[in-house]
């Protein structure tokens, strides 16, 4: 049973992914608005409201406007939220309240395929949101093209990483309210301290090292690399970190869900 999840995986998982797409198509018009308007709001608020207060910001040895610095992080944050919330709240509702997974387990689908489909779906949603945001921010002049399009595969990878860690929490959260805990202890600190709203180079050394553990830090760095062509870390190391993080939590997520559902 230990590594059964590899033998239990097949392309059949795409049928579950398709199910989520069919459901999403009914509500996409509303969901579409969030990534469309959110960056505009942030840029407006921070650009107009904040910019005058912040001068002499420099990143990777270059001075730049605050909005220029912040815009790529907005995409990274959106990738994180879209995938993490999908595999926590949304997957929990499907698993626990709607018993959708139970129904699927009466078909030739394996639990592993169902869970992988959920995570891949969360990455798909994250990629869609990233695409819209990149277009909006590109029109506002915050993204260089064509390099900016690299955001799309990056969003998928980032989505897999945060989707997988979300599924890991879903695997053992006793109730839907308890998701507040990983959000408060894991997501919010990352949201604030991953070089999102200020460069980590301004932090004390220990905090800089701590930020390197956050997957969002690497996603933000890579997002800046795509949007600005600038980066403070080694992008290959960040890529390797995100990839490993995704893989490790995919396995942990599958193990946690198997423990939870197979009784």
């Amino acid at each position: 049973m230990t590594f059964g999840f590899f033998t239990n995986l097949s392309w059949r998982f795409l049928t579950v992914w398709r199910r989520n797409l069919v459901v999403y198509r009914k509500i996409w018009k509303v969901n579409f608005l969030v990534p469309l308007l959110e960056p505009a709001f942030y840029i407006l608020a921070f650009g107009l409201g904040f910019q005058g207060l912040i001068e002499g910001l420099s990143y990777a040895g270059q001075s730049m406007a605050y909005t220029q610095f912040m815009a790529p992080a907005l995409i990274a944050i959106s990738i994180m939220y879209n995938s993490f919330f999908e595999t926590t709240y949304a997957s929990f509702v499907r698993m626990y309240y709607q018993k959708t997974f139970d129904g699927m387990m009466a078909t030739p689908l394996s639990l592993e395929e169902i869970i992988v489909a959920e995570i891949v779906w969360s990455a798909t949603k994250a990629t869609g949101a990233a695409l819209i945001m990149t277009v909006v921010l590109g029109l506002l002049g915050f993204v260089i093209f064509p390099q900016g399009l690299l955001i799309l595969p990056l969003a998928f990878l980032g989505g897999m990483a945060f989707g997988a860690v979300g599924m890991f929490f879903t695997g053992f959260t006793p109730s839907i309210d308890m998701f507040n805990l990983p959000i408060f202890l894991f997501i919010t600190p990352m949201f604030l301290f991953s070089g999102t709203f200020f460069p980590t180079s301004g932090l004390p050394a220990w905090a800089q090292h701590a930020a390197c553990i956050f997957p969002l830090y690497h996603l933000v760095e890579l997002s800046r690399f795509c949007c600005l062509g600038l980066v403070e870390t080694n992008p290959l190391i960040s890529l390797a970190y995100l990839f490993s993080f995704a893989l490790v939590f995919l396995v942990f997520g599958l193990m946690a869900m198997r423990r939870r559902l197979i009784k």
């Binding site: 049973m1 059949r12 049928t15 579950v16 398709r18 199910r19 069919v22 459901v23 009914k26 709607q98 018993k99 959708t100 139970d102 129904g103 699927m104 387990m105 009466a106 078909t107 030739p108 689908l109 394996s110 197979i262 009784k263």
Partner: protein
């Protein structure tokens, strides 16, 4: 199919010494049974008897703690995917997809079986018609009444044209009309050669639908047989119920004539087995108050074997 042709002709499912333990509690304790091709096999028992645990092991949802299950001659542990493609399961909980419409529930489910789209459409239309759901095709599942939802669950379980259909309490909570419609449809499916495994709390339902059944309690199989043979063997053919009788006299009478009976707080249940002489004597001697003469039913067998005290 060839090598096991003979075996398949007689049995579609074989469970051997099946056991299931959860955290030290034994839910199923070494049960063995076979289900023959084309029959309706009943799993009866009070709540907590281990019926649903057994069902879940049969379709590979939960791995057995001990023992083996073979369906179509295939082992569920290793060939669950092939097996699940050939069975239909109507679970006890409503597991319909509330995010989808009635028709989408069938089509998306067909997708999980990788049924080609045109065939899925065809079957979905047939099933909507068969279960009188065609007017609800675009309805959301959340808007369906209990009866409609159960019909859709059953329709969904048939989307892969299964050889074996597993029904876990298919009529619990339904109104009589819905229940009868469901029974009627099950009868039709039986004439098409489908095999059924059914769990239920309704003894009338089991007696009507099942060719053969087992009664389980506390994880074990107590008895196995046809409804008629179980009635005959365990409670006889007729029953006399006497409300608040003159107890001592009746007890003495029954003992002296070696008639089987159960004593409840407010009445005696006498397993008379169509003995006309005994019946007449009871009618004359002990029926000053309320007396009921009736045929024995499966419910009498069930209560006699599993006891009358509450389980939960």
């Amino acid at each position: 199919m060839n090598s096991q042709g003979i075996d398949n002709a007689t049995s579609i499912l074989q469970a051997d010494n099946l056991g299931k333990r959860f955290n030290g509690v034994t839910a199923v304790d070494s049960v063995s049974f076979t289900v023959k091709t084309g029959e309706c096999f009943g799993l009866l028992g009070p709540n907590g008897a281990g019926k649903t645990s057994t069902i879940r092991m049969i379709y590979g949802f939960s791995p057995p703690s001990s023992g083996t299950i073979k369906l179509f001659g295939l082992d569920i542990a290793s060939q669950w995917r092939l097996i699940r493609a050939r069975i239909g399961i109507c679970q006890q909980d409503n597991t319909l997809d509330p995010d989808l419409t009635v028709l989408q529930n069938l089509l998306i489910f067909a997708g999980y079986f990788r049924i080609p789209r045109h065939l899925a459409n065809e079957r979905a239309e047939e099933l909507l018609l068969f279960f009188a759901l065609e007017k609800k095709r675009e309805a959301k599942v959340g808007e369906l009444s209990g009866g409609l939802a159960r019909r859709l669950s059953l329709a969904r379980a048939l989307i892969n044209d299964p050889e074996l259909i597993i029904l876990d309490e298919p009529t619990t909570g339904l109104d009589p009309q819905s229940r009868h419609l469901l029974w009627e449809r099950l009868h039709t499916l039986r004439t098409r050669g489908k095999t059924f495994i059914l769990t239920t709390h309704y003894m009338e339902e089991a007696a009507q639908l099942c060719d053969r059944l087992v009664i389980m309690d506390q994880g074990r199989i107590l008895v196995e047989g046809t409804p008629a043979s179980l009635i005959e063997e365990h409670v006889g053919r007729s029953i006399i119920e006497i409300a608040s009788p003159e107890q001592e006299g009746l007890r003495r009478f029954l003992r002296s004539h070696q008639v089987d009976y159960d004593e409840l707080s407010d009445r005696f249940i006498i397993y008379n087995n169509n003995d006309a002489a005994i019946e007449q004597m009871i009618r004359d001697g002990f029926c000053s108050r309320q007396c009921t003469f009736r045929s024995a039913t499966l419910e009498d067998v069930f209560l006699r074997l599993t006891g009358r005290e509450l389980r939960e």
